[in-house]
């Protein structure tokens, strides 16, 4: 006889969460989608007119918007690779019983709890033309390397990528450490008995079993990178000129001009990109997860 599967909680318990989610997420998303097809702006706040794909067409013809898409991808992929790689290396180093392990973990983790505004002020002064970095470089005889770090595209985008990695690599380190600690020592002992080298153990035990943590880290990093706003806003404000504009800052600027329909269309494009890429990455890594 087939036994009826009992759930621990009744379905009614979902109602509050569903109501909240619907009101604060589903409804705004649906409204945004609709408004992105209108000429909604500050002067027609309550009387937007349907304009079809005009906002999307306008955006896709704007060189600053296209550049901001490029910058968004550059930022998202560069920071994801670096945050994941550095976080993983730090985790491998600090999961072992090394001296001052607790202090080092705290130090690496600390940047992500600092307010982004403070980080912005801090790095703006470090990277300024007369800032700490250039002074240090001059002090050690490397005047040739000094430059106005936020004054040109290459160094400005490189600087914000560096700051983002500095902030979040320690956070990723902790996710990886918890993943590494969940791997049973038995696997390594068996492998040692079988004569496996350190590289073999890493390649065939650690890497496959850390994939669930990798899935979390990469999904969070790529989604966070694609919708980046704060770090760009506080450090370069999209400059020099419009060089380091990303999708979120472009959308914000469009909103500032009162182009609410266009700004909403920009947000929809950003949301679609974030969903597609995050979903694809998540699926890719989930397929490679191994049961422990």
């Amino acid at each position: 006889m087939k036994r009826k599967k009992k759930s621990i909680y009744p379905l009614y318990a979902l109602i509050p969460a569903l109501v909240i989610y619907t009101i604060f997420s589903v409804v705004p998303i649906a409204i945004s989608l609709l408004l992105s097809f209108t000429d909604w702006n500050m002067n027609r706040l309550f009387t937007p007119v349907f304009t079809g794909l005009a906002n999307y067409a306008e955006l896709l013809q704007d060189p600053v918007f296209l550049r901001s898409i490029g910058n968004t991808f550059l930022f998202a992929f560069a920071t994801t690779i670096l945050k994941t790689g550095i976080g993983f290396i730090l985790a491998l180093a600090l999961v072992k019983k090394v001296a001052a392990r607790g202090i080092l973990r705290t130090i690496y983790y600390a940047p992500c709890v600092i307010s982004i505004t403070v980080v912005g002020v801090l790095f703006k002064s470090i990277l300024a033309n007369r800032g700490l970095l250039n002074n240090v470089l001059s002090g050690i005889g490397l005047e040739g390397l000094t430059r106005d770090w936020l004054g040109s595209y290459g160094t400005a985008i490189g600087s914000v990528i560096f700051v983002e990695v500095w902030m979040w690599a320690g956070f990723n380190m902790f996710i990886f450490i918890s993943g590494l600690q969940a791997i049973s020592a038995d696997y390594y002992e068996s492998a040692t008995l079988d004569g496996a080298s350190a590289y073999d153990k890493f390649r065939h035990i650690t890497l496959p079993l850390i994939v669930p943590s990798m899935t979390v880290v990469v999904t969070l990093s790529i989604a966070g990178g694609l919708k980046v706003f704060d770090i760009i806003y506080v450090i370069t404000n999209g400059g020099p000129g419009f060089d380091t504009q990303v999708l979120a800052t472009y959308t914000y600027q469009s909103f500032s001009l009162g182009f609410l329909g266009e700004s909403t269309a920009g947000s929809v494009i950003l949301a679609v990109i974030v969903v597609i890429i995050s979903f694809a990455m998540n699926r890719y890594f989930t397929k490679r997860e191994v049961e422990m």
Binding site: Y9, P10, Y12, A13, I15, P16, V19, I20, I23, D39, N41, M42, N43, R44, L45, E58, L127, A128, N129, R130, D148, W149, L150, G151, S152, G239, P240, G241, F242, Q253, F255, S256, L257, G258, F259, E262
Partner: protein, 459 residues
């Protein structure tokens, strides 16, 4: 088991109800107009009753960070001490102010008092829709520059100052004297000679920060000076704003930008202009490391307040496109508009009555001398840099003044900080645009903006 189900159901019900209750405000607009009016009257009565009883009254306001002057703070403090009227001003970063203000006004969630630059305010929001006209107030008869707050024949604000003065180059007198520059330049060549002399002495002649509102002063002043007269400026603005002409139909516009770009090419401007902050520039000016910055008289007053030891003053620089030697002035001033939705109108009117007396009004100018808008208020002119009234009166008396260009085309105000002013820094940084290219690019922004706005001449 059955109990659990009931508890779960009840919890779900309570949470859903609390959510509906939280959203209760959304239903408020459905109140019948008559009821609404009656409610407003009751609230006004309550505010009035509180006043007469000397009970504590609280008002709300919003102000830009850069306009949160100590003088205004002193007026607010005294009001609390003497009248038990408290104004809670929300201090908002300048770059977020416009949006917040418009959104809050449009959604009827704005505070009682909106502090802004008049008459620029009217370019952003329609005063007839959002603000209370104050024509019937007693202090209006003492107002020196009523045109600042006027819109369609009514006056929608209380302005502290009658004018923000004029634009020019603020310079460090000690630096000029130390380099034997005893005469101010009168022609463009003389001006370049001064810059060369300063540069040779390892002093940066002109400093520009990354704050885009600073370099734009050169252009907003220059464009009006290039056109030369108020009539020419008004005619220009009328054609530009109705799509009868393009910016590049007036070669003077590009010439102004080109002359500004020449300063960079000649090496007169600090190299770190894309990253150095305005505050740091002021420190350099006060210390004598740099000689001049673009500015205006109100900026000079603020710098003198921050650096009382520095020997600074201002002059109208000679330019190649203005042979009449015209001065660009600022027919604008900081003031306060009253939100139409306020429930404390009587209290606000009392506040303005008090502020228009010397007892309160003088406080505004104690640390920042200026030109008071209310007759009888002491602008503390004796503490003002003597060159300010001297230059102002000289040009005014001869009629050689034009308002800055931003005033004439203030309908385009939202574009200034977001596009045009950015181009003014991008062009010298990348060397990718001359004056005509800058104006061409801005024209595209104007076309798009005006089409969006549904402006006459674009649709």
């Amino acid at each position: 088991m059955r109990n659990r189900k009931w508890i779960a159901l009840m919890l779900a019900g309570v949470m859903s109800l609390s959510l509906i209750a939280c959203g209760g405000n959304a239903a408020e607009p459905s109140v019948e107009p008559a009821q609404e009016e009656a409610g407003a009257e009751t609230e006004a009565d309550e505010s009035s009753a509180k006043e007469t009883s000397g009970e504590k009254v609280e008002l709300t306001g919003m102000v830009q960070q850069s306009r949160w002057y100590s003088g205004l703070q002193n007026m607010v403090d005294r009001l609390a001490e003497q009248e038990n009227i408290y104004i809670e001003f929300e201090v908002i970063p300048d770059d977020q102010y416009d949006n917040l203000m418009k959104m809050r006004l449009n959604s009827h969630e704005a505070p009682d008092l909106i502090v802004y630059q008049f008459a620029d305010l009217f370019a952003g929001v329609n005063p007839e829709e959002f603000f209370v006209p104050l024509d019937d107030e007693a202090w209006m008869s003492k107002v020196q520059a009523p045109e600042l707050t006027e819109y369609n024949g009514k006056h929608y604000g209380y302005c502290f100052e009658a004018s923000n003065g004029f634009q020019g180059l603020i310079y460090n007198k000690d630096v000029f004297e130390a380099n034997d520059i005893t005469e101010l330049p009168k022609t463009l060549d003389e001006f370049y000679a001064v810059c060369d002399k300063l540069k040779a002495a390892d002093i940066v002649p002109i400093a520009i920060p990354l704050d885009t509102w600073v370099p734009q002063i050169w252009m907003t002043s220059g464009m009006s000076r290039a056109l030369g007269t108020v009539d020419a400026c008004e005619d220009f603005a009328d054609k530009i704003l109705t799509n009868q002409a393009k910016f590049n139909d007036y070669p003077e516009m590009a010439a102004v930008v080109d002359e500004y770009l020449d300063l960079f090419e000649k090496g007169y401007v600090n190299e770190d202009f894309m990253t150095v902050s305005y505050d740091e520039i002021l420190g350099r000016l006060a210390s004598g490391e740099i000689a001049m910055i673009y500015g205006a008289t109100e900026i000079l007053t603020s710098i003198e307040e921050s650096y009382p030891e520095a020997n600074l003053t201002i002059f109208n620089p000679p330019v190649g496109y203005d042979d009449k030697d015209v001065l660009a002035y600022l027919p604008t001033a900081m003031g306060i508009a009253v939100n139409k939705d306020t429930e404390n109108l009587d209290t606000i009117k009392k506040v303005f009555d008090l502020w228009s007396t010397p007892e309160y009004g003088d406080l505004y100018f104690q640390s920042r001398p200026g030109f008071p808008n209310i007759e009888g208020v002491n602008g503390n002119e004796e503490a003002m840099n003597p060159d300010i009234p001297k230059i102002y009166n000289e040009y005014m008396s001869e009629g050689r003044v034009v308002a800055q260009m931003n005033q004439y085309i203030d309908m385009l105000q939202p574009l200034f900080g977001n596009t045009l002013w950015v181009y003014f820094l991008e062009a010298p940084s990348k060397g990718n645009m001359d004056g005509a290219a800058v104006m061409e690019r801005f024209q595209e922004d104007v076309d798009k903006f005006m089409k969006e706005k549904g402006a006459e001449g674009w649709n």
